[in-house]
């Protein structure tokens, strides 16, 4: 089997076996965390596109997540749209927003870009908090609907209840699609251009590549994914206030990408699960949580700058070479 086909096969195998997760995991709380982690996979894949592929660290992912969450919620609550329709619409709406944000901010590089996007996140957060006639402010919006159920070949598929298995499958499907989409982008001509920009943007420009177009494209895709993640989050949790969409969450998305391995496809998946489960386990050390979390981030950046996935892969290859040489 050729290399990409093998990878694709492994991917399918993982997703297929993940479909049986609800039968294996009997603790609803774990199921709940897994659903959240899968939503985070979508978010961090988006973050990885701009941070790992293009090398521009954007700190506004949670802001876009918030835009997606609030748009989807408000469309269903105030205008009576079907949840399925709004789930399909939010990536487009968030993408549109990100053009407005991305066009001016992509004119600057490096730290400037990081700081400007961070400022955008704060603006979005402030507006969500202050424009309370629409967003409900700090008190938030409750009773957000789940997607409506339907019947398939006689089976009734509904999405109600905490840690619902069908909602899990929906999120799993979308997370797998997102990862697939990122894989397609990475292995296409566009992906090569993005890597070229990361390595040397001036040179890429000199080769006749209109790099700002590619950067904007990636930024918009990244934001659309964040918007989708936000909508999925809102309709899953059923309650919305601005708190999860602050700068902290954007930093978490960056941490997910760094921990897993930036610029890889599997890295953000591993990272997303890490940032969802790690704080839950650190809850034991409640008041030390923030310190521990920051400490892990610092230590990971110093000793594991490439992330868990590349390091594990190298370790695996090293052991393999040792075993093969002994024969």
């Amino acid at each position: 089997m050729s290399h990409p086909a093998k990878k694709l096969f492994i991917g399918f195998a993982i997703v297929a076996s993940a479909c049986f997760m609800p039968n294996l995991v009997t603790v609803p709380y774990f199921m709940h965390l897994i659903i959240l982690a899968l939503i985070w996979v979508i978010l961090s894949q988006g973050q990885n596109l701009i941070q790992g592929f293009v090398g521009y660290v954007s700190i506004t992912q949670a802001g876009f997540m918030g835009i997606g969450a609030y748009f989807s919620t408000l469309l269903t609550l105030k205008l009576g749209f079907s949840v399925w329709l709004t789930l399909a619409m939010t990536p487009l709406i968030t993408g549109l927003f990100s053009v407005i944000v991305g066009y001016p901010s992509l004119r600057v590089k490096g730290h400037y870009f990081a700081i400007v996007t961070l400022a955008y996140n704060m603006v979005i957060f402030t507006i969500l908090l202050t424009y309370s006639s629409l967003t409900g402010g700090e008190a938030g919006i409750s009773n957000i609907a789940r997607p409506s159920g339907f019947s398939l070949f006689g089976y009734v598929v509904d999405f109600e209840g905490r840690s619902n298995a069908n909602y899990y499958l929906l999120v799993l499907f979308l997370a797998a699609m997102t990862t697939g989409l990122c894989g397609l982008i990475l292995h296409s001509r566009v992906g090569r251009v993005l890597l070229a920009i990361r390595q040397n943007e001036v040179l890429a420009d000199a080769m006749g590549i209109k790099s700002w177009r590619y950067k904007l494209f990636t930024f918009v895709i990244s934001a659309s994914l964040a918007g989708l993640a936000g909508a999925l989050y809102a309709h899953y949790i059923g309650f919305l206030n601005p708190e999860p969409f602050g700068v902290d969450q954007s930093l978490n998305a960056i941490l997910a990408v760094i921990l897993g391995g930036s610029g890889t496809l599997t890295g953000p998946v591993v990272g997303a699960f890490a940032v969802t489960f790690l704080p839950e386990y650190l809850r034991i050390a409640d008041s030390y949580r923030l310190v521990t979390y920051g400490f892990i981030l610092v230590i990971a950046t110093i000793f594991l700058p490439r992330g868990l996935v590349p390091v594990t892969r190298d370790l695996f290859l090293y052991i393999k070479s040792l075993v093969l040489n002994q024969k």
């Binding site: 704060m122 920051g294 892990i296």
Partner: protein, 285 residues
């Protein structure tokens, strides 16, 4: 009309604090190329420390602030040695991520050591007098004066002393400075100490002027960077001008538009500057 002057004066006081924050950030950025995001949290640490020293030992405000500045300088040493030194040859973005981790750590330490309550530092400067119809609070004048003195001291330090000369040399050309025998490792330590001490002073002044609370630090760091972008990264005059502009425009926005949107307006000013003059008002192209 009087209202405008009144708001401008209020803005100058808070702007003076922004200048101190931005000054600390700009020396670190100009010399080490690190976007030291944890600076705001260091400032909050300093504010809490000042409050704590005043409460515990009953010393006057400025003595407590001075002691806290020494503590801040020590913290700066530790941060530089343990956190930033290991990644100095890695891509700059790694240092930025370290800075984010440090922010969490210092915020966490602040919570653990000083608690989650909002703290206001009580100073004896409570007088108010009127000049041509404008109410001038004594405290605001003191804050502006303190900032002026600190900025003056730092400028003299960098312009006149031998240490200052080596700091400027490293900022201009790191390699050449190494070849001329400048101890670059020492310079970056000194720079971090100065920067953190300035941040601590800013935190103490914020504590006297407004209040210190968990979460204020991040906002402060973002404001500091907004000032840097306004004035030009790495430029000291830029930090001064940018800080005052940000402070005054914020006060105007709070006074005439809406106080809940004042932060938004500050960021809009920054975005507009980036669009039309990405190198900052006083930065070099």
């Amino acid at each position: 009309m009087i209202e405008i002057f009144q708001q401008a004066l209020n803005g100058l006081a808070i702007g003076a604090v922004y200048v101190l924050i931005a000054l600390g950030l700009t020396v670190v950025f100009g010399i080490l190329g690190i976007a030291h995001f944890a600076h705001g949290s260091v400032a909050m640490f300093g504010g809490y420390l000042t409050f704590f020293v005043m409460e515990k030992f009953g010393v006057p405000f400025f003595l407590a602030m001075g002691l806290a500045m020494l503590g801040g300088a020590a913290l700066g040493f530790v941060i530089e040695r343990l956190a930033y030194r290991p990644v100095q040859d890695a891509p700059h973005i790694n240092a930025f991520i370290i800075a984010l981790g440090l922010t969490m750590m210092i915020e966490g330490i602040n919570l653990l050591v000083f608690g989650a309550d909002q703290v206001v530092i009580q100073t004896p400067y409570r007088g108010v007098f009127y000049v041509a119809g404008i109410a001038v609070a004594e405290l605001r004048l003191i804050v502006i004066l303190t900032a002026c003195v600190l900025v003056g001291v730092i400028t003299m330090l960098i312009a006149k002393t031998k240490t200052g000369k080596s700091i400027r040399a490293v900022a201009q050309n790191r390699q050449a400075a190494v070849l001329m025998g400048v101890n670059v490792s020492m310079v970056s330590l000194v720079v971090f100490a100065i920067s953190s001490a300035l941040g601590v002073a800013a935190g103490a002044l914020i504590g006297a002027l407004l209040a210190i609370a968990p979460g204020v630090g991040e906002g402060l760091a973002v404001k500091g960077f907004a000032v840097l972008i306004l004035g030009g990264l790495g430029s000291i005059p830029g930090a001064i001008v940018g800080g005052l502009i940000l402070g005054v425009s914020e006060a105007m926005a709070a006074g005439f538009i809406s106080s809940s949107y004042k932060d938004v307006i500050a960021f809009l000013v920054m975005i507009v500057v980036l669009l039309f003059r990405p190198e900052g008002l006083l930065g070099k192209r």
